[in-house]
Symmetry: C2
Subunit: 232 residues, 2 copies
Protein backbone atom coordinates (compact mmCIF):
# COMPACT_ATOMS: atom_id res chain seq x y z
CA UNK A 1 0.00 0.00 0.00
CA UNK A 2 1.28 3.40 -0.94
CA UNK A 3 0.30 6.58 0.83
CA UNK A 4 1.39 8.41 3.96
CA UNK A 5 0.11 6.98 7.24
CA UNK A 6 -2.14 10.04 7.71
CA UNK A 7 -3.54 9.72 4.19
CA UNK A 8 -4.33 6.03 4.73
CA UNK A 9 -6.06 6.77 8.03
CA UNK A 10 -8.08 9.52 6.34
CA UNK A 11 -9.01 7.16 3.52
CA UNK A 12 -10.59 4.78 6.04
CA UNK A 13 -12.93 7.53 7.28
CA UNK A 14 -13.68 8.69 3.73
CA UNK A 15 -14.60 5.17 2.64
CA UNK A 16 -17.00 4.68 5.55
CA UNK A 17 -18.64 8.02 4.85
CA UNK A 18 -19.08 6.93 1.23
CA UNK A 19 -20.52 3.55 2.15
CA UNK A 20 -22.58 4.45 5.22
CA UNK A 21 -25.97 3.93 3.59
CA UNK A 22 -25.41 0.52 2.00
CA UNK A 23 -23.57 -0.57 5.15
CA UNK A 24 -26.46 0.36 7.42
CA UNK A 25 -28.86 -1.46 5.10
CA UNK A 26 -26.64 -4.56 5.00
CA UNK A 27 -26.40 -4.71 8.81
CA UNK A 28 -30.12 -4.18 9.30
CA UNK A 29 -30.97 -6.87 6.76
CA UNK A 30 -28.46 -9.19 8.49
CA UNK A 31 -27.13 -9.95 5.05
CA UNK A 32 -23.48 -10.50 6.01
CA UNK A 33 -23.32 -14.26 6.31
CA UNK A 34 -20.37 -14.66 8.73
CA UNK A 35 -21.84 -12.05 11.09
CA UNK A 36 -25.25 -13.65 11.17
CA UNK A 37 -23.83 -17.14 11.56
CA UNK A 38 -21.03 -16.65 14.07
CA UNK A 39 -19.53 -13.34 15.04
CA UNK A 40 -22.58 -11.28 16.14
CA UNK A 41 -23.52 -13.74 18.88
CA UNK A 42 -19.87 -14.17 19.82
CA UNK A 43 -19.33 -10.48 20.57
CA UNK A 44 -22.60 -10.16 22.49
CA UNK A 45 -21.69 -13.21 24.59
CA UNK A 46 -18.20 -11.87 25.21
CA UNK A 47 -19.51 -8.51 26.45
CA UNK A 48 -22.20 -10.12 28.62
CA UNK A 49 -19.53 -12.38 30.11
CA UNK A 50 -17.82 -9.50 31.89
CA UNK A 51 -21.19 -8.35 33.34
CA UNK A 52 -20.93 -4.63 32.60
CA UNK A 53 -23.62 -2.07 33.43
CA UNK A 54 -22.21 0.68 31.19
CA UNK A 55 -20.50 -0.06 27.87
CA UNK A 56 -18.55 2.21 25.51
CA UNK A 57 -19.09 0.98 21.92
CA UNK A 58 -16.18 2.41 19.97
CA UNK A 59 -16.77 2.49 16.21
CA UNK A 60 -20.40 1.60 16.81
CA UNK A 61 -21.52 2.06 13.20
CA UNK A 62 -25.28 1.98 12.87
CA UNK A 63 -25.65 0.76 16.42
CA UNK A 64 -26.78 -2.87 16.18
CA UNK A 65 -24.51 -3.99 19.03
CA UNK A 66 -25.71 -1.21 21.32
CA UNK A 67 -29.29 -2.29 20.67
CA UNK A 68 -28.42 -5.96 21.26
CA UNK A 69 -26.78 -5.13 24.59
CA UNK A 70 -29.54 -2.72 25.60
CA UNK A 71 -31.95 -5.68 25.57
CA UNK A 72 -30.02 -6.96 28.60
CA UNK A 73 -30.37 -3.65 30.44
CA UNK A 74 -26.88 -2.43 29.61
CA UNK A 75 -26.45 1.31 29.07
CA UNK A 76 -24.43 1.86 25.93
CA UNK A 77 -22.72 4.95 24.60
CA UNK A 78 -21.69 4.56 20.98
CA UNK A 79 -19.26 6.73 19.06
CA UNK A 80 -18.37 6.66 15.40
CA UNK A 81 -16.54 9.03 13.08
CA UNK A 82 -19.21 8.75 10.39
CA UNK A 83 -22.16 11.15 10.89
CA UNK A 84 -24.56 9.16 8.67
CA UNK A 85 -23.99 6.02 10.73
CA UNK A 86 -24.52 7.88 14.01
CA UNK A 87 -27.73 9.36 12.58
CA UNK A 88 -28.94 5.84 11.77
CA UNK A 89 -27.99 4.64 15.26
CA UNK A 90 -29.80 7.53 16.95
CA UNK A 91 -32.84 6.86 14.80
CA UNK A 92 -33.05 3.27 16.02
CA UNK A 93 -32.23 4.10 19.64
CA UNK A 94 -31.06 1.66 22.28
CA UNK A 95 -28.21 3.86 23.43
CA UNK A 96 -26.66 7.29 23.37
CA UNK A 97 -24.73 8.02 20.21
CA UNK A 98 -22.28 10.72 19.24
CA UNK A 99 -20.01 11.55 16.35
CA UNK A 100 -16.33 11.32 17.19
CA UNK A 101 -13.17 9.94 15.68
CA UNK A 102 -10.57 7.88 17.53
CA UNK A 103 -8.37 10.93 17.96
CA UNK A 104 -11.17 12.53 19.99
CA UNK A 105 -11.48 9.39 22.11
CA UNK A 106 -7.72 9.20 22.63
CA UNK A 107 -7.55 12.82 23.69
CA UNK A 108 -10.56 12.51 26.01
CA UNK A 109 -12.46 15.23 24.15
CA UNK A 110 -15.76 13.38 24.57
CA UNK A 111 -18.21 14.01 27.36
CA UNK A 112 -18.94 10.45 28.36
CA UNK A 113 -18.11 7.72 30.84
CA UNK A 114 -17.00 6.24 33.09
CA UNK A 115 -17.71 2.75 31.76
CA UNK A 116 -17.34 -0.80 33.00
CA UNK A 117 -16.25 -2.03 29.60
CA UNK A 118 -15.30 -0.80 26.14
CA UNK A 119 -15.99 -2.85 23.02
CA UNK A 120 -14.54 -2.54 19.51
CA UNK A 121 -16.34 -4.85 17.10
CA UNK A 122 -14.46 -5.04 13.80
CA UNK A 123 -13.78 -1.34 14.25
CA UNK A 124 -10.01 -1.20 14.75
CA UNK A 125 -8.86 -0.67 11.20
CA UNK A 126 -6.00 1.82 11.25
CA UNK A 127 -2.47 1.95 12.59
CA UNK A 128 -1.55 4.97 14.73
CA UNK A 129 -5.23 5.77 15.33
CA UNK A 130 -5.66 2.36 16.99
CA UNK A 131 -2.46 2.55 19.01
CA UNK A 132 -3.41 5.88 20.56
CA UNK A 133 -7.01 4.79 21.10
CA UNK A 134 -5.95 1.73 23.10
CA UNK A 135 -3.71 3.81 25.31
CA UNK A 136 -6.76 5.82 26.37
CA UNK A 137 -8.97 2.82 27.26
CA UNK A 138 -7.92 2.46 30.92
CA UNK A 139 -8.92 6.10 31.39
CA UNK A 140 -12.48 5.26 30.31
CA UNK A 141 -12.98 1.88 31.99
CA UNK A 142 -10.90 2.14 35.15
CA UNK A 143 -10.31 -1.40 36.40
CA UNK A 144 -12.78 -2.70 33.80
CA UNK A 145 -12.55 -4.58 30.54
CA UNK A 146 -11.82 -4.08 26.86
CA UNK A 147 -13.25 -6.51 24.32
CA UNK A 148 -12.01 -6.44 20.73
CA UNK A 149 -13.30 -8.54 17.85
CA UNK A 150 -11.28 -8.47 14.65
CA UNK A 151 -10.37 -10.59 11.65
CA UNK A 152 -8.29 -13.56 12.76
CA UNK A 153 -4.79 -12.71 11.54
CA UNK A 154 -3.71 -16.22 10.66
CA UNK A 155 -7.01 -17.08 8.98
CA UNK A 156 -7.25 -13.72 7.15
CA UNK A 157 -3.65 -13.43 5.97
CA UNK A 158 -4.35 -14.75 2.50
CA UNK A 159 -1.41 -14.95 0.14
CA UNK A 160 0.41 -11.98 1.65
CA UNK A 161 3.49 -12.46 3.83
CA UNK A 162 2.43 -12.90 7.48
CA UNK A 163 3.61 -9.58 8.87
CA UNK A 164 2.21 -6.21 9.92
CA UNK A 165 1.41 -3.74 7.20
CA UNK A 166 -1.21 -1.73 5.34
CA UNK A 167 -3.37 -3.77 3.00
CA UNK A 168 -5.77 -2.76 0.26
CA UNK A 169 -9.43 -3.18 1.18
CA UNK A 170 -12.08 -5.00 -0.79
CA UNK A 171 -15.87 -5.18 -0.89
CA UNK A 172 -15.67 -8.62 -2.46
CA UNK A 173 -18.83 -10.50 -1.58
CA UNK A 174 -20.76 -7.27 -0.99
CA UNK A 175 -23.15 -5.68 -3.46
CA UNK A 176 -22.49 -3.28 -6.33
CA UNK A 177 -23.67 -0.36 -4.18
CA UNK A 178 -20.39 -0.52 -2.21
CA UNK A 179 -17.41 1.44 -3.54
CA UNK A 180 -14.04 2.93 -2.58
CA UNK A 181 -12.98 0.15 -0.16
CA UNK A 182 -10.88 1.32 2.78
CA UNK A 183 -7.29 0.26 3.34
CA UNK A 184 -6.67 -1.51 6.64
CA UNK A 185 -3.67 -2.22 8.80
CA UNK A 186 -2.92 -5.93 9.14
CA UNK A 187 -1.47 -7.03 12.48
CA UNK A 188 -0.19 -10.49 13.34
CA UNK A 189 -1.54 -12.14 16.46
CA UNK A 190 1.83 -11.48 18.07
CA UNK A 191 1.40 -7.76 17.34
CA UNK A 192 -2.15 -7.63 18.69
CA UNK A 193 -1.17 -9.28 21.98
CA UNK A 194 1.90 -7.06 22.27
CA UNK A 195 -0.07 -3.88 21.49
CA UNK A 196 -2.71 -4.69 24.10
CA UNK A 197 -0.14 -5.32 26.79
CA UNK A 198 1.95 -2.22 26.19
CA UNK A 199 -1.24 -0.16 26.48
CA UNK A 200 -1.91 -1.41 30.00
CA UNK A 201 -4.26 -4.25 29.11
CA UNK A 202 -3.92 -7.83 30.33
CA UNK A 203 -5.21 -10.54 28.02
CA UNK A 204 -7.64 -12.80 29.87
CA UNK A 205 -9.08 -14.76 26.96
CA UNK A 206 -8.56 -15.13 23.27
CA UNK A 207 -11.76 -16.55 21.79
CA UNK A 208 -11.98 -17.92 18.27
CA UNK A 209 -15.57 -17.96 16.99
CA UNK A 210 -15.74 -20.68 14.36
CA UNK A 211 -18.54 -21.80 12.08
CA UNK A 212 -19.52 -25.43 12.65
CA UNK A 213 -17.08 -27.82 10.95
CA UNK A 214 -15.00 -24.96 9.57
CA UNK A 215 -11.24 -25.52 9.60
CA UNK A 216 -10.46 -21.91 10.48
CA UNK A 217 -11.88 -19.41 12.96
CA UNK A 218 -14.13 -16.64 11.61
CA UNK A 219 -12.58 -14.03 13.89
CA UNK A 220 -10.66 -13.56 17.10
CA UNK A 221 -11.97 -11.87 20.25
CA UNK A 222 -9.53 -10.48 22.80
CA UNK A 223 -10.99 -10.12 26.29
CA UNK A 224 -8.73 -7.89 28.37
CA UNK A 225 -8.75 -6.07 31.64
CA UNK A 226 -6.81 -3.07 32.78
CA UNK A 227 -3.54 -4.15 34.33
CA UNK A 228 -2.63 -3.26 37.83
CA UNK A 229 0.49 -1.12 37.81
CA UNK A 230 2.91 -3.97 38.53
CA UNK A 231 6.18 -4.36 36.67
CA UNK A 232 6.87 -7.68 34.92
CA UNK B 1 -8.95 -40.89 16.88
CA UNK B 2 -10.17 -43.95 18.75
CA UNK B 3 -8.70 -45.17 21.99
CA UNK B 4 -9.06 -44.33 25.66
CA UNK B 5 -7.31 -41.18 26.84
CA UNK B 6 -4.83 -43.26 28.84
CA UNK B 7 -4.10 -45.48 25.84
CA UNK B 8 -3.47 -42.45 23.63
CA UNK B 9 -1.14 -40.89 26.20
CA UNK B 10 0.73 -44.22 26.47
CA UNK B 11 0.97 -44.42 22.71
CA UNK B 12 2.83 -41.10 22.64
CA UNK B 13 5.52 -42.43 24.97
CA UNK B 14 5.72 -45.73 23.08
CA UNK B 15 6.19 -43.93 19.77
CA UNK B 16 9.02 -41.78 21.09
CA UNK B 17 10.75 -44.82 22.55
CA UNK B 18 10.47 -46.49 19.15
CA UNK B 19 11.83 -43.49 17.28
CA UNK B 20 14.44 -42.21 19.74
CA UNK B 21 17.47 -43.17 17.63
CA UNK B 22 16.41 -41.69 14.29
CA UNK B 23 15.07 -38.63 16.14
CA UNK B 24 18.37 -38.00 17.91
CA UNK B 25 20.20 -38.38 14.60
CA UNK B 26 17.79 -36.01 12.83
CA UNK B 27 18.22 -33.33 15.50
CA UNK B 28 22.00 -33.65 15.57
CA UNK B 29 22.21 -33.43 11.79
CA UNK B 30 19.89 -30.38 11.90
CA UNK B 31 17.91 -32.05 9.15
CA UNK B 32 14.47 -30.73 10.11
CA UNK B 33 14.12 -27.73 7.84
CA UNK B 34 11.61 -25.63 9.82
CA UNK B 35 13.63 -26.06 13.00
CA UNK B 36 16.90 -25.07 11.40
CA UNK B 37 15.34 -22.14 9.57
CA UNK B 38 13.04 -20.62 12.21
CA UNK B 39 11.96 -22.32 15.39
CA UNK B 40 15.28 -23.30 17.02
CA UNK B 41 16.53 -19.73 17.17
CA UNK B 42 13.08 -18.50 18.20
CA UNK B 43 12.92 -20.69 21.31
CA UNK B 44 16.50 -19.86 22.34
CA UNK B 45 15.76 -16.13 21.95
CA UNK B 46 12.52 -16.45 23.92
CA UNK B 47 14.25 -18.18 26.84
CA UNK B 48 17.17 -15.73 26.84
CA UNK B 49 14.65 -12.89 26.86
CA UNK B 50 13.47 -13.68 30.38
CA UNK B 51 17.11 -13.80 31.61
CA UNK B 52 16.99 -17.01 33.62
CA UNK B 53 19.94 -18.52 35.48
CA UNK B 54 18.35 -21.96 35.96
CA UNK B 55 16.04 -23.54 33.37
CA UNK B 56 13.87 -26.66 33.53
CA UNK B 57 13.70 -28.20 30.02
CA UNK B 58 10.59 -30.39 30.09
CA UNK B 59 10.53 -32.99 27.35
CA UNK B 60 14.15 -32.18 26.56
CA UNK B 61 14.64 -35.03 24.07
CA UNK B 62 18.29 -35.45 23.11
CA UNK B 63 19.16 -32.18 24.79
CA UNK B 64 20.00 -29.77 21.98
CA UNK B 65 18.18 -26.84 23.68
CA UNK B 66 19.96 -27.45 26.99
CA UNK B 67 23.28 -27.33 25.17
CA UNK B 68 22.29 -24.19 23.29
CA UNK B 69 21.31 -22.43 26.52
CA UNK B 70 24.37 -23.70 28.39
CA UNK B 71 26.53 -21.71 25.96
CA UNK B 72 25.07 -18.61 27.62
CA UNK B 73 25.95 -19.83 31.11
CA UNK B 74 22.46 -21.06 31.93
CA UNK B 75 22.19 -24.15 34.13
CA UNK B 76 19.70 -26.52 32.58
CA UNK B 77 17.99 -29.58 34.00
CA UNK B 78 16.32 -31.67 31.30
CA UNK B 79 13.75 -34.38 31.81
CA UNK B 80 12.25 -36.72 29.29
CA UNK B 81 10.20 -39.90 29.52
CA UNK B 82 12.33 -41.69 26.94
CA UNK B 83 15.48 -43.32 28.40
CA UNK B 84 17.30 -43.51 25.06
CA UNK B 85 16.91 -39.76 24.53
CA UNK B 86 18.12 -38.97 28.05
CA UNK B 87 21.11 -41.25 27.46
CA UNK B 88 21.93 -39.27 24.30
CA UNK B 89 21.52 -35.99 26.17
CA UNK B 90 23.78 -37.09 29.02
CA UNK B 91 26.37 -38.26 26.50
CA UNK B 92 26.55 -34.80 24.92
CA UNK B 93 26.42 -32.94 28.25
CA UNK B 94 25.58 -29.27 28.70
CA UNK B 95 23.09 -29.93 31.49
CA UNK B 96 21.79 -32.41 34.01
CA UNK B 97 19.39 -34.93 32.56
CA UNK B 98 17.02 -37.41 34.11
CA UNK B 99 14.34 -39.81 32.98
CA UNK B 100 10.86 -38.81 34.07
CA UNK B 101 7.40 -38.59 32.59
CA UNK B 102 5.02 -35.65 32.98
CA UNK B 103 3.15 -37.46 35.74
CA UNK B 104 6.34 -37.48 37.78
CA UNK B 105 6.82 -33.75 37.14
CA UNK B 106 3.21 -33.00 38.04
CA UNK B 107 3.46 -34.95 41.26
CA UNK B 108 6.81 -33.39 42.20
CA UNK B 109 8.53 -36.75 42.35
CA UNK B 110 11.73 -35.35 40.84
CA UNK B 111 14.66 -34.10 42.85
CA UNK B 112 15.31 -30.82 41.05
CA UNK B 113 14.72 -27.10 41.15
CA UNK B 114 13.93 -24.44 41.98
CA UNK B 115 14.17 -22.81 38.55
CA UNK B 116 13.77 -19.32 37.10
CA UNK B 117 12.01 -20.62 34.02
CA UNK B 118 10.58 -23.79 32.52
CA UNK B 119 10.58 -24.44 28.77
CA UNK B 120 8.57 -26.92 26.71
CA UNK B 121 9.78 -26.96 23.12
CA UNK B 122 7.33 -28.91 20.94
CA UNK B 123 6.99 -31.29 23.87
CA UNK B 124 3.37 -30.79 24.98
CA UNK B 125 1.66 -33.49 22.97
CA UNK B 126 -0.97 -35.09 25.19
CA UNK B 127 -4.21 -34.04 26.85
CA UNK B 128 -4.52 -34.77 30.58
CA UNK B 129 -0.75 -35.20 30.91
CA UNK B 130 -0.26 -31.62 29.73
CA UNK B 131 -3.03 -30.17 31.86
CA UNK B 132 -1.62 -31.65 35.07
CA UNK B 133 1.93 -30.74 34.09
CA UNK B 134 1.07 -27.06 33.66
CA UNK B 135 -0.64 -26.96 37.04
CA UNK B 136 2.68 -27.93 38.63
CA UNK B 137 4.81 -25.28 36.87
CA UNK B 138 4.38 -22.48 39.43
CA UNK B 139 5.70 -24.91 42.06
CA UNK B 140 8.94 -25.25 40.09
CA UNK B 141 9.52 -21.68 38.93
CA UNK B 142 8.03 -19.60 41.76
CA UNK B 143 7.43 -16.11 40.37
CA UNK B 144 9.31 -17.07 37.20
CA UNK B 145 8.39 -17.87 33.62
CA UNK B 146 7.07 -20.65 31.44
CA UNK B 147 7.87 -20.66 27.73
CA UNK B 148 6.03 -23.04 25.40
CA UNK B 149 6.65 -23.53 21.70
CA UNK B 150 4.12 -25.60 19.80
CA UNK B 151 2.56 -25.98 16.38
CA UNK B 152 0.50 -22.90 15.53
CA UNK B 153 -3.10 -24.12 15.83
CA UNK B 154 -4.53 -22.06 13.00
CA UNK B 155 -1.63 -22.78 10.66
CA UNK B 156 -1.50 -26.49 11.57
CA UNK B 157 -5.22 -27.24 11.54
CA UNK B 158 -5.23 -28.65 8.03
CA UNK B 159 -8.53 -29.89 6.71
CA UNK B 160 -9.88 -30.94 10.10
CA UNK B 161 -12.54 -28.91 11.90
CA UNK B 162 -10.91 -26.21 14.03
CA UNK B 163 -11.59 -27.64 17.47
CA UNK B 164 -9.80 -29.52 20.25
CA UNK B 165 -9.34 -33.22 19.83
CA UNK B 166 -6.94 -36.13 19.37
CA UNK B 167 -5.36 -36.35 15.94
CA UNK B 168 -3.42 -39.09 14.24
CA UNK B 169 0.31 -38.42 13.97
CA UNK B 170 2.45 -38.58 10.87
CA UNK B 171 6.14 -38.78 10.02
CA UNK B 172 5.44 -37.31 6.62
CA UNK B 173 8.57 -35.52 5.44
CA UNK B 174 10.79 -37.64 7.70
CA UNK B 175 12.80 -40.63 6.58
CA UNK B 176 11.83 -44.29 6.25
CA UNK B 177 13.57 -45.08 9.55
CA UNK B 178 10.68 -43.40 11.43
CA UNK B 179 7.64 -45.55 12.31
CA UNK B 180 4.58 -45.75 14.60
CA UNK B 181 3.78 -42.01 14.65
CA UNK B 182 2.31 -40.75 17.92
CA UNK B 183 -1.19 -39.34 18.23
CA UNK B 184 -1.33 -35.78 19.51
CA UNK B 185 -3.97 -33.61 21.11
CA UNK B 186 -4.89 -30.58 18.99
CA UNK B 187 -5.80 -27.43 20.91
CA UNK B 188 -7.14 -24.23 19.42
CA UNK B 189 -5.39 -21.00 20.31
CA UNK B 190 -8.38 -20.17 22.51
CA UNK B 191 -7.82 -23.44 24.41
CA UNK B 192 -4.10 -22.88 24.84
CA UNK B 193 -4.60 -19.38 26.27
CA UNK B 194 -7.40 -20.60 28.51
CA UNK B 195 -5.39 -23.61 29.76
CA UNK B 196 -2.40 -21.45 30.61
CA UNK B 197 -4.50 -18.99 32.58
CA UNK B 198 -6.44 -21.54 34.60
CA UNK B 199 -3.12 -23.08 35.64
CA UNK B 200 -1.95 -19.84 37.22
CA UNK B 201 0.02 -18.50 34.24
CA UNK B 202 -0.35 -15.01 32.78
CA UNK B 203 0.35 -14.65 29.07
CA UNK B 204 2.89 -11.91 28.45
CA UNK B 205 3.68 -12.53 24.80
CA UNK B 206 2.51 -14.72 21.99
CA UNK B 207 5.29 -14.87 19.40
CA UNK B 208 4.80 -16.25 15.92
CA UNK B 209 8.09 -17.31 14.36
CA UNK B 210 7.61 -17.10 10.61
CA UNK B 211 9.90 -18.00 7.73
CA UNK B 212 10.71 -15.00 5.51
CA UNK B 213 7.86 -14.22 3.10
CA UNK B 214 5.77 -17.12 4.41
CA UNK B 215 2.05 -16.42 4.70
CA UNK B 216 1.67 -18.44 7.90
CA UNK B 217 3.67 -18.71 11.12
CA UNK B 218 5.84 -21.81 11.61
CA UNK B 219 4.89 -22.09 15.28
CA UNK B 220 3.59 -20.15 18.24
CA UNK B 221 5.55 -19.36 21.41
CA UNK B 222 3.69 -18.51 24.61
CA UNK B 223 5.74 -16.53 27.12
CA UNK B 224 4.03 -16.61 30.50
CA UNK B 225 4.75 -15.77 34.07
CA UNK B 226 3.24 -17.07 37.26
CA UNK B 227 0.23 -15.00 38.20
CA UNK B 228 -0.01 -13.24 41.47
CA UNK B 229 -2.93 -14.63 43.46
CA UNK B 230 -5.38 -11.90 42.45
CA UNK B 231 -8.94 -12.69 41.41
CA UNK B 232 -10.19 -11.38 38.06
Amino acid sequence: MKGSPDALEAQIIRSWNTNASPWARAIQAASIHSRKLVTDKAIVDAVLGVRPLRVFDIGCGEGWLARALNVYGIKVTGIDAVPALIAAAAHHGGGQFQVGDYGAVAERQLQCGPFDAAVCNFSLLGKESVESLLGAIPGYVGAGHLIVQTLHPVAACGRHPYRDGWRAGSWSGFGAEFSDPAPWYFRTLESWVSMLRRNGLELLECREPTAPESNAPASVIFICKTRLPIAD
